[in-house]
Symmetry: none
Subunit: 399 residues, 2 copies
Amino acid sequence: MEGKGILLIMDGLGDLPDKLGRTPLSAAKKPNMDKLAKEGILGLLSPIGRGNVPGSDTSHLTLLGYPYWEFYCGRGPLEALGSGIKLRHGDVAFRANFATVKNGKILDRRAGRIPTELGKKLAQRICKMYIEGIEVSFMSTVEHRGVVVMRGPGLGANVSPTDPHEIGPVLESHAFREDSAKTARVLNAFTKRAMEELSKAPENSGRALAANAILSRGPGTYVEVEPFVKRLGITGVCVAGGALYKGVARYIGMDIIGVKGATGSKDTDLKAKGKAAVEALKSHDFVFVHVKATDSFSHDKNCEGKKKMIERVDKELVPLIRGSGANLIITGDHSTVCALGKHTGDEVPLLAWGPGFRADAQKKFSEVSCMGGGLGHLDGWDLMPVMLNAMGRARMVGT
Amino acid sequence: MEGKGILLIMDGLGDLPDKLGRTPLSAAKKPNMDKLAKEGILGLLSPIGRGNVPGSDTSHLTLLGYPYWEFYCGRGPLEALGSGIKLRHGDVAFRANFATVKNGKILDRRAGRIPTELGKKLAQRICKMYIEGIEVSFMSTVEHRGVVVMRGPGLGANVSPTDPHEIGPVLESHAFREDSAKTARVLNAFTKRAMEELSKAPENSGRALAANAILSRGPGTYVEVEPFVKRLGITGVCVAGGALYKGVARYIGMDIIGVKGATGSKDTDLKAKGKAAVEALKSHDFVFVHVKATDSFSHDKNCEGKKKMIERVDKELVPLIRGSGANLIITGDHSTVCALGKHTGDEVPLLAWGPGFRADAQKKFSEVSCMGGGLGHLDGWDLMPVMLNAMGRARMVGT
C-alpha cells in the first residue's frame, strides 16, 4: 500500500548481550520479523543522538518529528493530555500520586496502590481550589495516579517537586527561577490544603494506608504546537495503551484510536491493536503503534519475559501490519538493558520494509545484524523524513 | 595527480530496485566505474539530509559547499545566471516561459516549444519596461524558455507565480509578505503588457500556437555570496550543459568552461566534456562535471535509457577523468526513481577514488554495494570537506 506508513515502537527494545552474546531480540523466535528483515533494510537508531539516554517522552516526540530540544514540555502536560484532560496554552501541569503520610513522614508513596474508584471519590474533595488567583485542579486517573493542573497568570514550571521519590517528609517546592516563584507557593499551599481535606475524608476511615496526601512531580507548561498534519503534511493516528504515549500523540495533534484490550501492560491485546492499526490506514496516512511491555519486562530485569513479549508481537501483531502492504518501520524508543533494569543510550535496532524502501543484504533482525544494515546509523530526527520519503509524501526542497 | 579533484555528478543517479532487485546503476555494464569501485571507496550520500527530497538547485549548492539553508536564493536567479545574464545584488529574477493563451486560458504552457530564434525576436518586443519605477527585463534563452529580471527599490521575492503549471487561466501573482507587495503588482502589470505586445507581434501570425504570453515562476532575490576560491581555498571550474548548473557555478563564483557539444541532453558529447575537464585541471584545482541525461531519462520513466546513459558515461567519460590521476568523486545530486518519474530522498550511491582516498572491500558500484562502503553515510555538506582532504587542500582547525 503505497503512500501509507506504520511505525511500530516496541518500548525499550534494544539491549546489551549476555555472556553468550544473546539479547532478547536476537534470541527470540520471530520468523515474521526476520522475513521482513530479509526483504527489507536494517539500521541502528539513536533517538536523541549518539550515546544520549532518552526518556520515553523525549524520544517519542523526537521520533514523531518534534525534536525534544524544541518541543519537550515536561512530563506533567503529556500525562494530563494522555489521560484525556484538556489543557490550555500556559497551563502548568504535574504528574501526581495519592500517598500515605503519618507524623509528617511518607509511609507509602502510592497509598497502597488504592483502587481507581477510591481515587475518583477522594479527588472530588480537592478537585478545584483557588489560590493567589490561580485555579488549581486535581484529577485522579488510574489507581494512585493523578494530575495537578494550574491555570492563571504569572505561572512558570521551573519548580522542584514535592515528591521526594523515597520515604521521608513531603518536600517543600521551591522555584529555580523567579518566573516560577508563584507556582511554588501555589503548589505548597495546594499540598497543605489537600492533606487537610483528605485527612478528614470518611473514605479513608478504616484504611491502614490512608490516601491522605498528594505528591507532585514532572512540572511542565503546556504550549500549543504546530499540528502533525500541518508540520508533516500527512494525517497521523496513535494506537497505544499507556497514557504517556497517547499524551504525546495528543500534544502533537495526532488522532487517537481507543482499542479495547490495549492496556499498556503485558496482557495487552496485540491482535486488536494490529487490526485497529490496519483499519486506521483507511482514514489516515500514518499509524503509530506502541507496545509498552517490552520495556516493563526490561525494568523488572526479566530477560525471558522481554524475549517472549517480542515473540508475541511477532506472532500476533506483525503479520497483520505486514498484510496491509504499508511501509513499515519497527524499532524502539530506546534501549532498556535487562541486566541493568534501566534505559541506556545504546543504539536501537531498526527494521524498515515496504514498497518505498530498498533491500539490503541482512537476513535477520538483531542488534548485530542491524550494525551491517543498509540504513546505517540514524538519529531520531531522521526517522520521519525517511518514512515520509518511503511513503512518497516528502516535500521537495528547491526545484 | 595529487592536489587536484574532479566531481562528476550524474543527475538523479540513485534509484530503487525493480522486482528482481536491479537498478539502472546495478544493471549497467560499467567496467570502468566498477574498477574504480574496486580500487577506491564507496558510500551513500544524502545531499540535503536523511530522507529529505532535494531539488537539483538546493542539492548542487550544498554539495559544492554552500548549504542550501543559508545560500538558496530561488530558481530564478540561478537560471538567469546560467543563461549568461548579469545580475546585481537585490535583483529579483523569475524563470519564465513563452506560452499560448486563448480566451483567457492557457492552451500550451510552452507555445509549442517555439524555436530559439523566434523567442529571441519576440523577446525584443518586451525586453525592457518601466513599471512603478522598476526596470523589468525579459530575456529569452532556449526554445520557449526565458528569464524575467526586476531591478529597483522596494522589491522582495515572496510572491506567488503566474504560471499555474497546468492548463487553466494565467494566475494573478500575490505577495506572501508585505515586503513583496510591489513585486507582485509589477509582475502582474508586466504580464498584462507582455500579452498585449506579443498578441500584436507579426512573428506570431500564422502560428497555430501563438507565443502570446509570458508565464513566470521560481522567484528569487539575487545576493552576492563569498566566492568559491575564498570560501573553499581552491580554484574551481564547471563543465556543464544545463543552464541551472552553470547558474549555480556562476552564483558561487566558479569559472565556467563552454564545451562544444555539451548540451545538457542525452546527445551531449561526453568525450568533449571529459577532455575539457582534464584540460581544466591545468588551470584549476577542482572541476565539477555535470551530466544531466540520467535524470531526464528517470523523469521519463525510461529505466533502460538511464542504464544506457550510465554505460555511455562509463565508456566515454570515465576513462578520461581516471587518466588524469586526479582524485575523483562520482555520485548524483539526488535519486530520481524511474518507476515513479520523480526525485526522492533515497540515498545516492557515491564512489571516491584517487591518491587521497582509502580503499574499502567493495568490488562494484551499486546502491547495495555502497551500503557496505567504507565512507558510510555522508550528508551533502560533508562532500567538499572530504574532497578537500583527499586533495590535501583542507585547512587544519586548531593546531
